[in-house]
Symmetry: C2
Subunit: 194 residues, 2 copies
């Protein structure tokens, strides 16, 4: 049997990353999240902080602005180059082994494989605000404002590279509200579907 | 403990209705689908065929056209009146007993209740086309065309009365691809979450 992959797309603050880690632990397969960034850094030479930020978020919330900005002679921006490396790394991972891949449009990149279970994890603004303050502490910006900004830039990134709508239920095999169902239930459902 | 409700929104041809019936049977609670139409007919005096069609679909795919069309002196169309009755019947059912309610924007109408599990069932065009031909047979229109038309008019209806986007994962506690997961898996997941 070939490799079976779980992709987890998640809203910032929804706990999707934790869901991914716990599913992977339960199934005894690796989870690529921070490790994905390490691999991309190794392959691209880009700084990890840059990859962390620009491999999922645009600089501003306008995808059109981003599509047009800072292209070189070949019409490529640094972000485009990073996208190409990310894509190659994700395709390579999926060829290599069964695993969980968190974020980075893996759902879109692997969309033509039959052996992928694609998951979207989301939660209300209130529930995510509570979570990010617990995890990352307070900042000058209100948590709702931070979430709104992150949502907008992640959405713009997704739209720019996949030309599909972030968060549309029809793109995923399963979409779960982690705030309403709880992290544990999400992990159970995904692991049971694998 | 109060009543616990499951609302099932579904794409035409996704088998969401079957999922609803099977979940209800498994949990030993009633499922309101055709029965909902009977109740609405009783209360409104509208014809069942009219309710079936206009309680979830607009006449054309444009919500704006629908919003402006055929309003009476009080600014109400027949469709608006039907909406008001549907809303009242659904609120009443949720007060009365634990149940499954299929379609008719019940997810939106009951959105402020904490004891609602809201589910969206969808599937690819290919998978739905296969299902509607099996269930309803061929017609003059290609199944993909019939689906496209139904999708567009249901989407327009939803937008008109709820002012939110049909199919956005973030409106539902759980969204499932019945074509990829199979009806049985969907039933299991929903029943386990109840």
């Amino acid at each position: 049997m070939g490799n079976r992959i779980i992709t987890i797309s998640r809203e910032f603050g929804s706990g999707g990353r934790t869901v991914g880690r716990e599913v992977a632990a339960k199934l005894g397969i690796p989870c690529y999240d921070q490790e994905l960034i390490d691999k991309i850094a190794e392959k691209s030479g880009y700084d990890k902080a840059y990859i962390q930020e620009r491999g999922e978020y645009t600089a501003s919330g306008s995808w059109l602005g981003n599509a047009l900005a800072m292209r070189d002679f070949y019409g490529q921006s640094d972000q485009d180059k990073l996208w190409a490396v990310q894509r190659a790394v994700i395709l390579e991972l999926a060829e290599k082994e069964s695993c969980v891949i968190v974020g980075r449009c893996a759902d879109y990149i692997l969309r033509d494989r039959a052996d992928v279970l694609s998951v979207f994890v989301h939660a209300s603004i209130e529930s995510r605000a509570k979570r990010i303050v617990e995890l990352y502490g307070e900042s000058d910006l209100a948590p709702e404002k931070r979430l709104h900004d992150k949502d907008k830039r992640r959405q713009a990134y997704y739209q720019l590279y996949t030309d599909t709508k972030w968060g549309d239920a029809r793109h995923y095999d399963v979409a779960l509200d982690s705030g309403r169902l709880g992290i544990e239930k999400c992990v159970e459902i995904i692991a049971a579907l694998y």
